[in-house]
Amino acid sequence: MTSAFQGALDAVTRVRGVRGAMVVSRDDGLVVADTLMEGVRGNAVAALTASLFQRVAATGATAGAGEARFVQMQADDGILLALAASDEVLVVAITDANVNVGLVRLELLRAGEAVR
């Protein structure tokens, strides 16, 4: 199963500008599988992205937006992206600020399919 995750994550990280991709437990923000460039702090990315996703999901549910599927945080020097692959896991990517987000999102969706 983990190797299936790994293959899906490899496809995400092949997109130019992607620094790392991982499968993350939604409840506790722990890394299930990852593919990271050197220097990327996978545990921190996983924990912080899962926490952010939870908060955004709660906001969306309160606002009547329904169940959160995808969250993107744009920052000066990078982007965090998280896709809800199932009730248990997120597929997460950290990228450069000028990445082709549409392409990364597409690969995250594919990875999400593989993870389900």
Binding site: A61, A63, L80
Partner: protein, 265 residues
């Protein structure tokens, strides 16, 4: 004595170091056995004098006993130890509201909600205090009317919400049918912004600029028109996210202009 209180009493007697005194004291307080609740709280605090939850329990017991001044001192001590302690801020909010000090009550309840946006009792209390504040001031309508102008000329203003740094709505609103969800959403937005700031700082991503989320029924876009304020724009899923970002940018500019024109507090 209920079975659960008896069981907790036995556990506390068997192990005086147990934190079960927190649940036991609260159960006794709720049951109205205030002397017993006070004894349990003080016994626990002998073991754990700096435990904020223990002091919070004792303060609640003191309130029920009518010792409001002492309760306030205890809660103020909790806030000194833990500045965002939800229970202490809720308690202080209640005490100030009881004294008629609406502004101070609002301050404490807003801190409580920003620390835990899911605390329903704090949300209800804040709603009550805000209603009281509106009733008390004939000119409160000025506060309600002014924000309506923030998004003048925009479509879908019932799905656009501008909030300040403490989670208070400034303009627009979020409604589900006839239900106004603005205060709930405003409180949650504060938590989202804090989490985004934390993530950006720890991961060395610079400042966060915006957050976009796709939901099952609608998409969200969150920006910061000025430092400390947040703007949420929500649109049906039929609106592409790129167009949502464009609309959010326009709303952001309008909000910034409106905020710039407001007198400083």
């Amino acid at each position: 004595m209920t079975d659960s209180i008896r069981a907790m009493s036995q556990e506390f007697a068997r192990d005086p170091d147990s934190l079960v005194f927190l649940r036991l004291g609260e159960a006794l307080r709720v049951k109205g056995e205030l002397e017993a609740a006070s004894s349990v709280a003080l016994a626990g605090l002998e073991r754990y004098p700096d435990l904020p939850e223990g002091r919070d329990l004792y303060a609640r017991v003191l309130v029920d006993m009518g010792h409001l001044t002492e309760a306030r001192q205890v809660w103020e001590g909790v806030v000194e130890m833990e500045p965002r302690h939800v229970g202490a801020h809720k308690g202080l909010g209640f005490l100030f509201y009881s004294e008629g000090n609406i502004d101070a009550a609002l301050d404490h309840l807003e801190i409580a909600i920003s620390a835990d946006p899911t605390d329903e009792s704090a949300i209800q209390a804040l709603r009550l205090v805000r209603a009281a504040a509106a009733d008390a001031e004939d000119d409160a309508s000025e506060v309600a009317d002014e924000p309506a102008g923030v998004f003048a000329g925009f479509e879908g203003t019932e799905s656009m919400l501008l909030v300040d740094g403490q989670g208070r709505p400034l303009g627009g609103g979020i409604r589900i049918g006839s239900e106004d969800r603005s205060e709930h959403v405003a409180a949650y937005l504060t938590g989202v912004a804090q989490e985004a700031e934390r993530a950006a700082r720890i991961l060395e991503l610079g400042h966060w600029q915006w957050i976009m989320a796709e939901g099952g029924d609608a998409n969200l876009h969150l920006t910061q028109p000025t430092p400390g304020t947040r703007l949420l724009v929500m649109r049906d899923r039929s609106i592409p996210t790129g167009r949502l970002a464009f609309q959010a940018a326009r709303a952001n500019a309008a909000a910034r202009e409106w905020l710039d024109g407001q007198p400083q507090a």
